[in-house]
């Protein structure tokens, strides 16, 4: 049993919940974090997908790098199945969410949440997206000190260059774009990713003739073996806190537990929010009900404040299922960084001329280590994938049918659409000579897009979420222009064939469903429910310019934690 009462209960130990937990606990509050998924790398749960294990963890002594090594195999298919949003029990499928078209929602459950498979990218929002687009009631300058705090905690640094980044930078430079060296980006250009991944040991330089193994402590930091989407436990053998990728389970959970004030209870799905109306005015949150995903048992816990950090799908779903006051903006305005994939295929001889090697070998280096920024449009980033994920992300889905159904004679790409059959096999045969660019657009919050619940259609946790997403003409134009820039960069880099997926809407970055200024105030406390705060990406007022949202979500969560202490403690 966890205790029956805490100063703060946080719903969700994803990318942002642990940040709020750490800050609140540092301020001396007692904190319970309830997480729907498992706790990997914790001795209380040696087989987190097979046995219920322990109940809760409150000590840093529970964390084990050895267990993380065992559980995070880096095998792509297995890890996707372990991490995608669902109950811990491996015998059970994912939780169902209805999503339009043949797109998908890529969120994880478990302590660390979607940062377990994020690629470590930690850029800041574009300042103009906060200050000029008219969605945010606070200024970018308000966020800067929190960015600095988060970047220090996550050890954000310029990402290293391997073959695929060098190829991209050559293409971007040849296309006439400038190298950017700043954190606060206001002009278009390319740069290394600001990544929350420790830089690799210099002995891993291609000229250093390293022939040792890649085990800690022989090597420290990143080992350039891809694998971030699959959890990235590298370097193997390292203690929990010395893993290279600073996902929130590595960067914020240990300091939170070190305070002695935090308890994390995994396998606990919050199904209701308790409120009381003391003065006939707005209700106040007083606690939550949660459900053990193994036993089905329900428990209640009381708290002075309740902090929702269940992610931009589950946070509004919980609000709606908890029967809190109606607010049209709860769940509305969802942005997902409406994205696309543009692929370049290269001839070996051409690569030899530019890179000094006749393959790109995208499985080497960090997954996403180079980027192109364009405030007002969004971003491009190079992506290295293992072949299965590369197949589904790059070729397995399209909003415009199969390649043989599309005439591309006047297009900047040679082929467009979904690949299957002989064409798929021919293309994947070139896996070692391809460079994938992910297009991420600055889509805007539209009221029609978002999360509702389906009355009468319930799973064990309540009415299931129904997600709607239809991009606007502006969203499509921003994406199209980025795709054209990507194609040009690939051509300049020497690609002999360029393929565009025209991907269906796929929710890689889900945000802005409980928007600041609409559902929550500038401290991220709900307008309609006192003592109920939102500390996840759903509180973002827009899509932060189309840049990876983790840094901004965490910075805002850190700020919200301070506001909570100011208001109520």
């Amino acid at each position: 049993m966890v205790a029956s009462e805490y100063d703060a209960v946080i719903v969700g130990a994803g990318g942002d919940g642990p940040v709020a937990a750490w800050k609140l606990a540092e301020a001396g509050l007692s904190v319970l974090v309830l997480e729907a998924g498992p706790f990997h790398g914790n001795e209380k749960w040696p087989k987190p997908h097979e046995d219920p294990g322990g109940e809760a963890s409150s000590s840093i002594e529970d964390l084990s790098g050895e267990l993380l090594d065992e559980q995070f195999t880096t095998r792509e298919f297995e890890m996707v199945n372990k991490l995608i949003f669902g109950p811990a029990d491996h015998e059970r499928g994912f939780y169902f969410r209805k999503f339009p078209g043949d797109g998908a929602i890529l969120q994880c459950s478990g302590v660390g949440g979607t940062t377990l498979h994020y690629t470590g990218n930690h850029p800041r929002a574009y300042p103009a997206s906060i200050d000029e687009q008219g969605h945010w009631p606070i200024d970018y300058a308000d966020l800067v000190p929190y960015y600095q705090e988060i970047e220090e905690m996550c050890e954000v640094a310029p990402a290293p260059v391997t073959a695929k980044e060098e190829l991209f930078f050559r293409g971007a430079a040849a296309a006439g774009w400038d190298l950017l060296d700043e954190l606060n980006v206001t002009e278009p250009g390319y740069r290394p990713q600001p990544n929350a991944i420790r830089q690799p040991d210099e002995k891993l330089h291609v000229d250093a003739d390293y022939d040792g193994d890649f085990q800690y402590p022989e090597v420290e930091g990143d080992t350039l073996a891809l694998g971030n989407i699959a959890g990235n436990p590298h370097p193997r053998g390292a203690p929990f806190e010395e893993k290279a990728k600073r996902a929130s389970n590595i960067s914020f959970v240990p300091p939170a537990l070190k305070t002695g004030n935090v308890t994390i209870r995994p396998n606990a799905f919050v199904t209701d929010i308790h409120t009381d109306t003391w003065f006939g005015d707005d209700p106040s949150a007083t606690g939550v009900e949660f459900r053990d995903t193994w036993s089905g048992d329900k428990e209640d816990v009381e708290a002075e404040v309740v902090v929702l950090a269940a992610g931009a799908i589950e946070t509004p779903r919980l609000w709606k299922n908890a029967d809190l006051p109606e607010n049209d903006w709860v769940g509305s305005g969802m942005t997902i960084h409406f994205g696309d994939n543009v692929m370049g295929l290269f001839e070996g001889a051409d690569l030899d001329g530019t890179l000094g090697t006749d393959t790109v070998d995208q499985f080497q280096g960090q997954d996403i280590a180079a980027r192109f920024d364009y405030p007002g449009l969004g971003m491009l980033q190079t992506v290295g994938t293992t072949p299965g994920l590369g197949a589904i992300l790059g070729f397995g889905a399209s909003a415009s049918g199969f390649t043989f159904q599309n005439d591309t004679s006047d297009a900047p790409w040679d082929t467009m659409g979904r690949l299957a059959g002989r064409e798929l096999k021919e293309t994947l045969a070139e896996y070692r000579r391809m460079l994938q660019i992910l297009v991420v657009s600055d889509d805007r919050p539209h009221e029609r897009n978002g999360v509702t619940v389906v009355p009468g259609v319930s799973d064990e946790n309540g009415s299931i979420p129904l997600v709607n997403y239809v991009p606007s003409d502006g969203d499509k134009k921003r994406r199209d222009e980025l795709a054209e820039i990507a194609a040009e960069i690939l051509r300049e880099a020497g690609a002999s064939h360029v393929h565009r997926s025209d991907s269906p809407p796929t929710a890689l970055h889900v945000q802005s469903t409980m928007r600041m200024g609409k559902v929550v105030d500038t401290a991220c406390e709900a307008y309609d429910v006192d003592r109920l705060f939102v500390a996840d990406h759903s509180a973002l007022a827009n899509s932060v310019g189309g840049v990876n949202p983790t840094n901004t979500g965490q910075a805002l969560a850190a700020r919200t934690a301070e506001k909570i202490v100011d208001r109520y403690f």
């Binding site: 095998r75 499928g93 169902f96 197949a391 269906p504």
Partner: protein
């Protein structure tokens, strides 16, 4: 258009309520065996279209590029995977609480195939010879396949893909254990039979002794000799690391990059890859001249 969607939805509701496949294919009666057989034949046809055997690639790419998904029994795993994909049930019933969707998926594919034919958008005539050609020695007899095979399996490979492409406009109804019927977008079917088939095939999946084992009991040799798709992509297997560092991008005078120059990125040496890393600049910023490239409409 709206009316059309309503019609489709109504049709598919009938499918789910009527027991799936047999209602769709118009057979008079059937046992769960024929039900399973129809699903198996349909999934075989899916895999044959998405990841076919390609003898034509032998000369250009090599003999290792010839076998497709059927050679590694991808269809059998795809059925298992589809049936375990989503959970709806109570925790204590474990995998029994998952929603078995393989048969409804097969049924929906037949509907899509019928629509393709009705619209006249097929390039080839359907033929029962196609599912028969995918028979293996230990399979059902030919007459069972003739009896049970649905329209989808009778289409040519390209027409099967065209039929899958029609699904985004459909709604699919699934019936979880609680008895509650709910709708899913049938684009899910396309995602499952194309996207998931591709990710499974090209992943490490084939290399497990048995993927359905508990995670801690799975064995994987991490050897391309054990994974057909890895031999076709040249992927060497998972690694703990690579000595692949070239350095850090930077400029001669800027804060990014540092130390010896390893290579120049552009012709005039303005952008370099250097041995050491620098840092990003905490810059002042001014957004007052920001203009929306594509303003949102009113």
């Amino acid at each position: 258009m709206e009316g059309n969607n309503v019609t489709r939805r109504t049709v598919l509701r009938g499918v789910a309520a009527g027991g799936g496949t047999l209602a769709v294919s118009g057979q008079a009666a059937g046992s769960s065996t024929t039900f399973d057989t129809h699903t198996k034949i349909t999934f075989r046809a899916i895999v044959d279209a998405v990841l076919p055997e390609t003898p034509g690639l032998e000369d250009s790419l090599g003999a290792e590029h010839v076998p497709g998904g059927l050679a590694v029994d991808l269809e059998a795993f795809l059925i298992t995977y589809a049936n375990d994909l989503f959970t709806f049930g109570l925790p204590y019933v474990g995998e029994v609480g998952n929603i078995p969707i393989a048969s409804p998926v097969a049924a929906v594919l037949d509907l899509a195939a019928k629509e393709l034919l009705a619209e006249g958008d097929n390039e080839d005539e359907p033929s029962v010879d196609r599912p028969l050609s995918l028979l293996e020695p230990e399979d059902e007899s030919a007459w069972v396949v003739r009896f049970v095979a649905g329209t989808f399996a009778k289409l040519s490979r390209r027409d099967r893909l065209r039929a899958i492409g029609l699904l985004d406009g459909y709604e699919l109804e699934l019936s979880p254990v609680s008895g509650t019927v709910f709708e899913a977008d049938a684009g899910l079917v396309g995602q499952l039979v194309v996207g998931f088939a591709e990710v499974i095939y090209y992943s490490e999946w084939e290399g497990y002794d048995e993927f359905t084992q508990p995670p801690s009991q799975r064995e994987h040799a991490n050897d391309p000799a054990e994974v057909q798709s890895w031999r076709q992509t040249g992927y060497p297997g998972f690694s703990d690391g690579y000595a692949a560092l070239r350095g850090y991008v930077g400029t001669p005078d800027g804060p990014l990059g540092g130390g010896d120059v390893w290579t120049e990125i552009d012709d005039d040496g303005a952008v370099l890859v250097t041995r050491d890393s620098g840092h990003f600049r905490e810059n002042d910023y001014d957004t007052s001249d920001y203009e929306e490239p594509y303003p949102e409409g009113a």
